[in-house]
């Protein structure tokens, strides 16, 4: 699953643009992820601050 570190996220939306599934959404000042996330980790790489982490279950 994708963990969003809200304490680190700067809500810039870079991750939203690269998400192949359209699973992320930037709602004003917070980021959300929905059930379509496939844990591909692309957003984790692109984040300029390191706010996203895919947690292997």
């Amino acid at each position: 699953m994708l963990n969003i570190r809200r304490d680190i996220c700067g809500y810039c939306g870079a991750c939203v643009s690269v998400c192949p599934e359209g699973a992320l959404e930037l709602i004003d000042a917070y980021l959300t992820v929905d059930h379509t996330c496939i844990d591909c980790g692309i957003c984790e790489k692109v984040c300029p601050l390191g706010a996203l982490e895919v947690i292997k279950e």
């Binding site: 700067g10 809500y11 810039c12 939306g13 870079a14 991750c15 939203v16 643009s17 690269v18 998400c19 192949p20 359209g22 959404e25 930037l26 709602i27 004003d28 692309i42 790489k45 692109v46 984040c47 300029p48 601050l49 390191g50």
Partner: protein, 397 residues
């Protein structure tokens, strides 16, 4: 908020503002929604724009111009600096804006002309009718409104979702996004009329570092790196912290600005039935510089004009909106996007040694003008084999 408008615009940046102003001045009823509580904030921009490009839209105003840039400096990976004087730098010289004020001014002009504007109002879904967009569901202050419109313009920026919800794939490939971090710094020793660009895989792989002065001792100091180069321990902010501690150890950081800039090809088609896509949402920022303010304003204005014509004709289907897509592609801006994409594909793959060779050789020329064309010529001079790899570059010479 009414239930029906001629034109509904999603997003209150420069693209949405120009679309709104253009359309409302020609008599359309226009509603613009911005999901943020404030227009212009938070800033996600280095704030530079070419002088000629800006004056295409409005006369320069000291209210939102921080600095008037006279010179530019390009610093090679080996530290060699090449100075571009105004006569050479052409469009690369310009203004550094205060986007918080600038964006408000653009929206204010649209509102003054009669556009309705709503903040903290977010489009949560398109309203679809017979497979085509017919408006949007808007959420504001806990209430939900079904807002119908003949045409919807998606001006929702890099994190654009609207076009995607309506069935258009807007995904930016990882290697074709620049992931960026910037500090607004004060107390730094800089030339306030000179922009600086640092190249090299050490400072910003597949990107560059910029210093854009906003006043005496104040500047946007930022960088972008290729998305493919980013990861744990080597993110945009890591590179920026290293650069800043080396260059400006005593500077004070008064703002952190982050964001993504697409450097991919534009969306294959920027219109659909009853819908147009403008600005960053259409993936039309410049693949070399990352600049997107002008491109957003230009496509916003053009989409506004196209909406007026289509509604006058009583046909807002895709074919009727196609002139928007074909016109921007054929424009000077569209051609520059094509050319700069081809150049970017070469540039982002160059080793530091090659970058050094190219910058040293450009500096030796007595250039009348510095432009992307000069860059292409020199790229090929330094790497004749590139022409074979990228035959299409030849067509730009």
């Amino acid at each position: 908020m009414k239930r029906q408008y001629d034109l509904l615009i999603i997003g209150g940046g420069p693209g949405g503002a120009l679309a709104a102003k253009t359309a409302v001045e020609k008599g359309l009823s226009v509603c613009l929604v911005e999901k943020r509580p404030a227009i212009g904030a938070p800033v996600r921009c280095a704030e530079g724009i070419g002088k000629e490009l800006l004056t295409d839209f409005l006369p320069p105003d000291p209210k939102w111009i921080c600095t008037d840039i006279e010179r530019a400096e390009l610093i090679a990976p080996d530290g060699f600096s090449m100075l571009l004087e105004p006569r050479m730098a052409g469009n690369e010289v310009g203004y550094i804006l205060d986007r918080k004020v600038f964006d408000r001014e653009l929206i204010w002009k649209a509102a003054e002309a009669g556009a309705e504007t709503y903040v903290k109002a977010r489009a949560t879904a398109p309203i679809m009718k017979d497979g085509a967009v017919a408006g949007a569901v808007i959420e504001q202050h806990g209430k939900i409104y079904d807002v119908h419109a003949d045409i919807v313009i998606a001006a929702d920026g890099i994190e654009s979702k609207f076009a995607r919800w309506a069935g258009i794939n807007t995904t930016v490939p990882l290697r074709e996004i620049e992931t960026c971090a910037q500090y607004l710094m004060t107390g730094i020793d800089i030339d306030s009329q000179k922009t600086s660009f640092f190249l090299g895989n050490e400072v910003a792989p597949a990107g560059y570092v910029w210093i854009f002065p906003k006043g005496d001792g104040i500047a946007n100091v930022g960088l972008g790196i290729g998305g493919g180069k980013s990861g744990a321990g080597h993110r945009a902010k890591d590179y920026l912290d290293r650069f800043v501690s080396r260059m400006f150890p005593d500077g004070k950081i008064i703002e952190l600005i982050i964001g993504g800039v697409s450097i991919c090809k534009p969306l294959p088609c920027t219109v659909a039935d009853n819908m147009m896509i403008v600005g960053d949402a259409a993936r039309i920022s410049d693949p070399i510089t990352g600049g997107g303010i002008y491109n957003a304003m230009y496509t916003g204005r053009l989409a506004g004009e196209t909406a007026v014509n289509a509604i006058e004709l009583g046909n807002t289907k895709k074919a009727s909106l196609m002139p928007y897509d074909s016109e921007w592609r054929a424009s000077k801006m569209g051609k520059a996007l094509d050319r700069n994409y081809a150049v970017k594909e070469v540039f982002t793959k160059l080793s530091d040694e090659k970058l050094n060779t190219i910058i040293h050789s450009i500096a030796k020329l007595n250039l009348e003008e510095f432009s992307t064309l000069t860059l292409i010529t020199e790229l090929i001079r330094a790497n004749p084999s590139l022409l074979l790899e990228l035959k299409h570059l030849r067509s730009f010479l």
